[in-house]
């Protein structure tokens, strides 16, 4: 009986540990290759990690670095963007992404946004979804407590204060909740892509024979709005729209 228990315990401990050994050693080996300047080998290892489902932001970041060192700017930006999606407030990821963007050919002026929209976007980008949601719950609880205080309080002045505060906190909870929700939508959205070929022609309709609208170059970010067969409709930051072959881009 005792033996069986020990074996069971061992089994329990070794099973998860064994599963972690493989990605750890692969990751360390890739890092070692990178530090020795063997970027191609490092990139292959990082790639295999990602293909096996070990999609940590660090892996994407390091793969992006390896690609950048090999001057594969498109792939570098793609991986930095993926890392940034998983870990939106990492300073290193943002820095390298920005630097890699400086190496792209296309200089696209962003369309000016309505100032309220811009503020709203800036506001909800302050934190990621989880933090917004935690904040929302805290505010909600505080708001409920204040309502209780309002109800139980005997003095009229205090009642007024508690009531207005509770309304304020409830509004805060709603606002942060919406922010968190939007952020989670954005996290899951798969409607952005990076141009992966040195240059790709954007057509006016999903047909190779249609007229050329503009040319995009490697590393440019596009928003995917529609898809027909092998073609996707994209929009770039300056608002221009067109159709491009799906093989030219890769979803972030």
């Amino acid at each position: 009986m005792r033996h069986i228990k020990i074996i069971l315990l061992l089994f329990l401990f070794t099973l998860p540990a064994k599963a972690e050994v493989i990605p750890d050693s692969l990751y360390s080996m890739a890092n070692k290759f990178y530090s020795e300047g063997r970027y191609a080998e490092a990139a292959t290892l990082y790639d295999s990690l990602i293909n096996s489902g070990y999609t940590a932001p660090e892996v994407y970041f390091n793969l992006g670095n390896a690609c950048f060192k090999m001057r594969q700017i498109g792939k570098a930006i793609l991986n930095y963007e993926r890392a940034n999606r998983l870990k939106p407030f990492d300073e290193d990821i943002r820095f390298n992404l920005q630097l890699a963007r400086a190496y792209t050919v296309d200089k696209i002026e962003s369309l000016p946004e309505f100032f309220l929209t811009a503020w709203w976007r800036a506001f909800r980008s302050l934190m990621d979804s989880d933090h917004w949601m935690i904040l929302s719950i805290v505010l909600f609880v505080v708001s409920l407590t204040l309502i209780l205080l309002f109800l139980f309080s005997a003095q009229v002045n205090r009642k007024k204060i508690f009531f207005s505060l509770s309304v304020l906190f409830l509004l805060g909870a709603i606002l942060t909740g919406i922010s968190g929700y939007r952020q989670s939508k954005e996290f899951h959205a798969r409607n952005e892509g990076i141009v992966m070929v040195p240059s790709a022609t954007v057509k006016s309709s999903p047909d190779a024979g249609s007229s050329d609208l503009f040319v995009l170059h490697e590393g440019t970010k596009v928003r995917i709005e529609d898809a027909v067969g092998q073609w996707v409709e994209i929009r770039i930051a300056n608002g221009n729209k067109g159709w491009i072959e799906f093989s030219n881009i890769e979803i972030i």
Binding site: A56, P57, N62, F140, V141, Y181, S184
Partner: protein
Amino acid sequence: MRREFRYVLPLVLVLVNSVTQVPAQDVDFKASAPSVVATGEPFEVVYTLNARPEQFRQPEFSPFELLGGPSTSTSTSVQMIGTQIRQNITVSYTYYLRANSTGKFEIPPAQATIKGKNFSSNALSIEVVKGSTPASQPQQGAQSPSGEEAESIKGGKDLFAAFLVDKRNVYLGEPVIVTLKVYDRMGLSRLAPPKLPALQGFYKNDIPTPELRQLTRENVNGQIYNTGVIARFILYPQKTGDLTIGSVEFNGAVQRTVTRRSRSWFDFDFDFPTIQEQPVTFRSEPVTIHVKPLPPGQPANFSGTVGDLSMAASIDKPELNTNDALTLKIKLTGKANMKMINPPVVSFPADFDAYPPKANVQEEYTTEGTTGSVTFEYIAIPRHPGTFTIPPVSFSYFSPRSNEYKTLASQPFSVTVNKGREDTTITVVSGLSREDVRLLNQDIRYIKRNIPDWKNKQLLLDSHLFILWYVAPLVLFALLIGIRRKTIRERADAARMRHKRAARLAAKRLRKAEKAMKNQQQDEFYEEILKAIWGYLSDKLMIPLANLSRDNAWQALSERGISGELKEQLGKIIDTCELARFAPAGTLPSMKETYENAVVLMEKIDQNLK
């Protein structure tokens, strides 16, 4: 002889001093003669020695015809240097020769024996051209009207100047050596220094040229001219295209024989020749030089230097302390316009404070071009200890000779910097050793090396149970509200019950009081009356008995519409009841009266209470 311009023939005759002896090894035995002569023209060959020979053997002069000689002359001079007296002797033998046939001939060396030792002079090479009647003579005669000696004449075929350039098709920056020469067959006797033209598009270096004292004979297309070099310079074209060296105007004078005819009183013509100077002007032809751009494929560090160079680089010490100066010298030697060489770029380690280089140029201008060297001195001060490498310094130039760009490179230098003494920080310019982090280069941040969390990222919102975080506080909230409501309601119910029962309780107490009255139990009676009144007030006004006082009871009563009269009566009854326990009997209203008053009053209050 007369045509020779300032012909110097030292004929200082003999001041014999037999003591003079020159050491044998210093014997200087030279032969000199014009390099070009015309047929039929007499010329001199002079042998000069600086010692008196015991024997002098003249060479075979054929095919020249010996007209006369040797005429021997000796000159001595005394030189005093400090206390030393030195006597120099010059012995010369002059022969007069004439050539009869054209061609190039050689006169073998002459032999001389001095103190029993044999010496020989240099051999002479003489070119003989076909003799022509000297151009100046007939022209002079034809062109000279009597008495107009001051008229200026123009030079021409017999007197001209020319710029001689060594090449007319050059690369940008490739030197051109220019010689300004004057050619004369007219007997030039005086020449003012000419004003050289402005040389636009060129950088000029003058080649030092001795002052023109004597023209030399030269064969120019079969004609013997007396020539002289006026100026020599090196030109560096600074722009491409056709550049022109402008013409130069010369002012001088020629010597000429004029036959002057004078008329005597006796109507007797008398011709006599005189030598007189006549001003002459002549100019040189402009010269065009085609400058082509340098061929393509310039190295990145090429800065326009054209020539042939070699480089040497050195550092003064491979090991030094922080804040000591390190000197790196780069010396470029060869043929180029040294002053125009830009210093090569030295990439000192970023931690070094580097100063702009100092250039030290040494140039010599010869007919070969500009030669010399330029030394660049770079001073750098390391601020931090460590081992640093100064990468190789490279310098590129264009070699017109091989028609290609060449790059010179030094070896890399390794410098070890040791930590200097602490007190040397005074040499650091900006305070303490703190300094801003300098942005040397933009590069991506290094990879992350921490083992990541392999769990796939899940957002809180991805879980449907997340809503519980809102629901749970809400449920708790509702629960609390419910409990509160319930207790309030319960309390309210209890009060209402007591309110309802108030009159009944009061009546019960009053009945007890009545019973006590009948039994003449005075204390009990008043106590029951008080209990009835306070109990009633407590229940009706919903004030707990313990908190009830006359003040708050009266206030509550007036709030509920009880008049002051009733309150006064009530007060009186309470006073009576409280006093009755201590006051002697008879001073107070009877029990019966008190009882009746209380019953009436209670009824009234009960009716009026809102």
